[in-house]
C-alpha cells in the first residue's frame, strides 16, 4: 500500500477554530511522514467539504484519509461515505476528535493547537496501517417477534403485519391487551381503552 495521506482539518464554524489554529494544524500535518496533502475548511461535513475530500482523493491520488473534526461517533459514517465516493475503500479513513475532546474542553489556544497536532500525528500513524475492509452480508429471516402484548406490542405488531411481514406476539398472560384492558376511559379524549 502506498503512503499518500490526505489530512482534512475541520473548523466546525468557530466550534473548533475559536480555540484551535486549524491552518497551523494543517501546515503541521504536511510535515508528517506519509502526508501529501492537508487543508483546513469551515465545515468538512457539508456538501462542499465532502466534495473537497472527494476531489483531493482523485487529484492527489490519496490512499489514506484523516479527518480531524468532531467525534467519530457523530460523523464517522459520513466521512467513510465521502472516502468511498472518492474511490477509496471506506475503511481507509480515520477520524480524530479535535472538538468534543479538544476545542470544547480546553481554553488555551497554544495548548489546544499543540494537542490537535499531536492527535493528527496519532491518526496519521494509525491510518497508514489501515487495511481495506469488505462488508459481508448475511440473510435475514423476515419474521418478527414482539415480546409483550400490551398496547405497545399490539401497535408494533399491527404495523409490521400491515407492512406484509409475519409477527409473533409472545404474552405471558392468557390474553393480550396488557394494562390497557384494566383502564376505564382514557385521557384526554375519554374514549374507551379496550
Amino acid at each position: 500500500m502506498k503512503k499518500r495521506v490526505g489530512v482534512f482539518v475541520c473548523e466546525c464554524g468557530t466550534n473548533i477554530a475559536a480555540t484551535v489554529d486549524t491552518a497551523r494544524v494543517a501546515e503541521y500535518a504536511k510535515t508528517l511522514p506519509g502526508v501529501v496533502y492537508a487543508i483546513n475548511y469551515k465545515y468538512m461535513c457539508s456538501d462542499p467539504g465532502q466534495e473537497l475530500i472527494r476531489n483531493a482523493i482523485e487529484e492527489q491520488q490519496l490512499e489514506q484519509v484523516v479527518v480531524a473534526s468532531c467525534s467519530p461517533r457523530m460523523h464517522e459514517i459520513t466521512f467513510r461515505k465521502a472516502t468511498a465516493a472518492g474511490g477509496l475503500n471506506a475503511y481507509m479513513m480515520e477520524m480524530i476528535n479535535i472538538r468534543e475532546q479538544n476545542s470544547w474542553v480546553h481554553h488555551d489556544h497554544e495548548q489546544a493547537t499543540n494537542k490537535a497536532q499531536s492527535l493528527v500525528r496519532m491518526a496519521v500513524a494509525k491510518v497508514l496501517r489501515n487495511k481495506p475492509l469488505q462488508v459481508s452480508t448475511v440473510p435475514i429471516t423476515k419474521k418478527a417477534m414482539v415480546i409483550g402484548g400490551g398496547i405497545a406490542g399490539m401497535q408494533a405488531a399491527l404495523d409490521i403485519a400491515e407492512g406484509g411481514h409475519q409477527v409473533i406476539i409472545v404474552e405471558r398472560e392468557a390474553s393480550i391487551g396488557g394494562k390497557m384492558t384494566q383502564l376505564d376511559k382514557t385521557f384526554p379524549t375519554m374514549d374507551c381503552a379496550a
Partner: protein
C-alpha cells in the same frame, strides 16, 4: 512531591477509552464544555476488553507518565 513544585512540567497521559462508554462520556464532557488538562490524549478502543497489557507497557516504555484505562 506536588505537581506545583515542578512548574512547566507537562505530563503525558494516555487514556484508552471504550468507544461505547468512556469515549462517549468524553464526548459528553465536551458537549458540556467541562474543562480539563490538555495533556490528556484519548485513544479510542472498541471495548476495554480489547486492552492488551502489552499496550500499557509499550506506553510506559515510550515515556508516558500515566495511563488510564476506562471502560
Amino acid at each position: 512531591m506536588s505537581i506545583d513544585s515542578q512548574a512547566g512540567w507537562e505530563p503525558k497521559i494516555i487514556v484508552f477509552a471504550c468507544n461505547w462508554c468512556s469515549y462517549a462520556a468524553a464526548d459528553l464532557a465536551g458537549l458540556n464544555h467541562l474543562e480539563y488538562s490538555a495533556d490528556v490524549r484519548i485513544i479510542r478502543t472498541p471495548c476495554s476488553g480489547r486492552m492488551d497489557p502489552m499496550l500499557v507497557l509499550r506506553a510506559f516504555n515510550r515515556g508516558v507518565d500515566g495511563v488510564l484505562l476506562s471502560g
